[in-house]
């Protein structure tokens, strides 16, 4: 029996008072794909960073191929045959693919000789692993799927025997993800070891041989994938049973509340981001917009919210009686922006101050130049209680809440204004499973209370679980509308730009 590729024993790491990793044991067999799953903040990334030499463990030992090692920096990790594909790619965008692959392994003080050798080696790797990329393409011009391949090539070029992938599918279409999995299968067939970090249970079931579950900095279980189930893994991750399905009754759509007609959005450099979008959202329904990140969903949402510019077309809101009330930027609309750090919150402000962002002129919160600090505090307290924000401390800076609780603060602010129409972007991005459940339940409640909700999310599962109708966007265009019962394949095809009639 060969020694395991990686054996961690008693690894602990603290940042200040936070125990990111606590006494972790992990054994990864050679030539397998080993999944590591856990909620955000469970300590997966920290553990992998220790393995790749980004951090030093406070305690514990690491053995690679049966030999105990210390990994002082990334250079040492590379020397031990460990390669990593980071969640945020570590690429130099203005460089070519070839230059990116060579960086750090140039093979001499002058580039000429190394360049030729790297080109040859790259061709060999591309053939062997189905990793086709033009070596002379500028990396910044490549789509994310290809950029990821460059990252994998980088690791292989350095002779990686153990490949760590950190949340690799977050930015990929289902098709691209499948291709990635084929590549990983090929790597396994060549005897390489793959560590796959993810929070997507489906991927674990689809591709891994073994799976380890992390929760709150601890390793809670390791299973053979074949011997476990999605339900068991989810329970292990969260520590209790979770509903993977959102419980909801049928929608009872009422009058049209929001209508978008022939909306076009053109960005700063003249690219049409949204092309001729028309749709309606009725009271009491959730309309989901699916699509791979970057296909115009963000621009569409921002245009309707009145943040981004509209090149042409119309947005109209309707009152209770169904009369059009026109549309003014930021009026009568609740908007939960996609990126809560960039737009939803001022993270350096307290929760209390964030409670009134955008509504600071409302009579409720003061008159004239002055804020009614007491009223703001009361409102903030009440919102935190109703939305179960933890800790319920209005004086805490927004930055100090976890992702899920930050999101609840934003949701609470927008929902408490009681708008008829809610625009919601990425409601559960970076939010842990427990909070996802409660946010989803809240959205269904709002729907049932007769709100018209437009939901944008890159999580296909989320769109399918929540929406009553799904619009799929590709390259700025609405490719089609499907029901929530549509198959993943059907939606996936639309997401990659293939219309139903073309696919038949």
């Amino acid at each position: 029996m060969t020694a395991p590729a990686i054996q961690l024993q008693g690894i602990s790491k603290s940042f200040g008072s936070v125990h990111a990793n606590r006494d972790i044991d992990l054994t990864v067999e050679k030539g397998t794909i080993h999944g590591i799953i856990g909620e955000n903040g469970a300590g997966k990334s920290t553990l992998m960073s220790i393995l790749y030499g980004f951090y030093q463990a406070d305690r514990g030992t690491i053995a690679v191929d049966g030999t105990q090692v210390t990994i002082r920096d990334s250079d040492a990790a590379i020397g031990l045959g460990i390669g990593m594909v980071h969640q945020h790619f570590m690429l130099v965008e203005p460089f070519t693919v070839l230059e990116n692959v060579m960086l750090g392994a140039e093979g001499g003080a002058l580039l000429n000789k190394g360049r030729a050798e790297a080109r040859q080696e790259l061709q060999r790797l591309e053939k062997e692993y189905e990793l086709n990329v033009d070596p002379d393409a500028i990396v910044g011009d490549l789509p994310v799927g290809l950029q990821q391949r460059v990252e994998i090539l980088k690791a292989l070029y350095r002779g990686a025997e153990i490949l760590i992938l950190d949340e690799p599918t977050g930015v990929l279409t289902p098709d691209e993800a499948d291709h990635l999995f084929r590549i990983l299968g090929q790597l396994r067939a060549q005897g390489k070891t793959v560590l796959l970090i993810t929070h997507k249970l489906r991927e674990i079931m689809a591709i891994t041989d073994d799976v380890s579950v992390m929760r709150q900095g601890q390793m809670v279980a390791t299973r053979h994938t074949a011997d476990t189930s999605v339900e068991e893994l989810a329970e292990l991750m969260v520590g209790r049973r979770v509903l993977l399905q959102v419980d909801k009754g049928a929608a009872t759509p009422g009058k049209v509340k929001l209508e978008v007609r022939n909306l076009e959005v053109v960005d700063d450099i003249g690219v049409r981001r949204v092309k001729d979008a028309s749709f309606q959202v009725r009271a009491g329904e959730i309309v989901g917009i699916a699509g791979v990140s970057g296909n115009g969903q963000s621009e569409l949402l921002e245009a309707i919210a009145g943040i981004g510019p509209i090149a042409s077309g119309e947005v109209e809101l309707f009152d209770i009686s169904g009369e059009p009330t026109g549309w003014r930027p930021r009026h009568g609309l609740g908007h939960v922006p996609e990126d809560r750090h960039r737009m939803g919150l001022v993270t350096k402000f307290t929760a209390r101050e964030n409670t009134i962002l955008g509504y600071q002129r409302d009579a409720e919160f003061g008159s004239g130049m002055f804020l009614d600090r007491k009223a703001v505090l009361e409102a903030s307290k009440a919102q935190m209680e109703r939305f179960d924000v933890r800790p319920p401390d209005p004086s805490l800076k927004a930055a100090n809440f976890s992702g899920g609780n930050q999101q609840k603060i934003v949701l609470a602010r927008e929902i408490e204004q009681d708008p008829d129409v809610l625009l919601i972007g990425q409601p559960t991005r970076g939010v842990d499973v427990g909070a996802i459940e409660s946010i989803h339940r809240r959205l269904i409640e709002l729907r049932d209370a007769g709100k018209a909700i437009l939901l944008v999310s890159v999580e296909l599962d989320e769109i399918r679980a929540l929406s009553d109708r799904i619009l799929v966007m590709f390259a700025g265009e609405i490719m089609g509308e499907v029901g929530p019962e549509a198959s993943e394949r059907e939606i996936g095809l639309l997401m990659s730009g293939v219309r139903a009639e073309d696919a038949a």
Binding site: S74, D75, H86, V92, E93, G104, A109, L110, L111
Partner: protein, 326 residues
Amino acid sequence: MGDFIPDLSTVVALTDGTLRGATPLLLACLAGLYSERSGVFDIGLEGKILIAAFAGATVGILTGSALIAVLAAIAASTLFALIHGVACITFRGNQIVSGVAINFLALGLAAVAGNAIFSMGGRTPQLPASARLNGGDSWFTPMLEGMGRYGQAVEDIAFDQSIFVYIAFAAVPFTWWVLYRTRFGMRLRAVGENPAAVDTAGISVTGLRYRAVICAGVLCGLSGATLSMALNSGYINNMGAGRGFIALAALIFAKWRPVQAMFACLLFAFLNASESRLQGTEVLGFEIPVQLVQAMPYLLVVILLAGFIGQARAPKAGGVPYVKER
């Protein structure tokens, strides 16, 4: 109109003046290029030029040796570059603030130390001839002088220059070669764009940036020595006269590329050299104010950046200290 068709002596004077004026600019500009390409903004070029000019002049006077004086200028400038490095790279301070501090420190220190040593109100006495580097006869001189006024013109422009002129213009292709043909250059460009990529590739970000900052120190040292040992003969208070900032403007203008940097510096030096000729010239009945000519480099940068040469994209990680992500 006859005034506008220059005669040979004017052409020689203008070309000569442009080359000489461009030299300290170009050296400082390339200094900034190394530093900023690595992601360390360097607003302290001016200060390094000043301290180098002062150190060169002082050591030249005290030792009488041009070589030792130049080395002293380089050492002083590099020391200041390292102060910037420690503040910005090791302690992750604000690069602009550190640069401004370097400028003030150099200006004040040169004046105080100069006064303490020479008691001449901050300036130094004249350099002895042995410590001057302002060009002279070359091997070609006798031959060219025998070729009449055109030979004399070639001699004046091409062979009668101080050694710094040749160093500065040779540094341009050399820098290009370093940036695009060597491992160091590739890593330098990479670390200014995405230090995390360099770090994860197993290369020290800190080490690379220190080397870049030292390159900047050496080149600024040469730039300062040019001022006090070639263009002038001794140190005069604040003799940099904003060249460090014009060099920065040229760097932006050139989009951080060496060959373009050379042309930008030549253009600015040409404007400067023609200043005295344009003074008092009337255009459409108005006298061109000298202030306008002096402001030309800055105006050009603003106008050209605003529209003509497109967006100047600074190295992406410029100005940002590298901190490993938590």
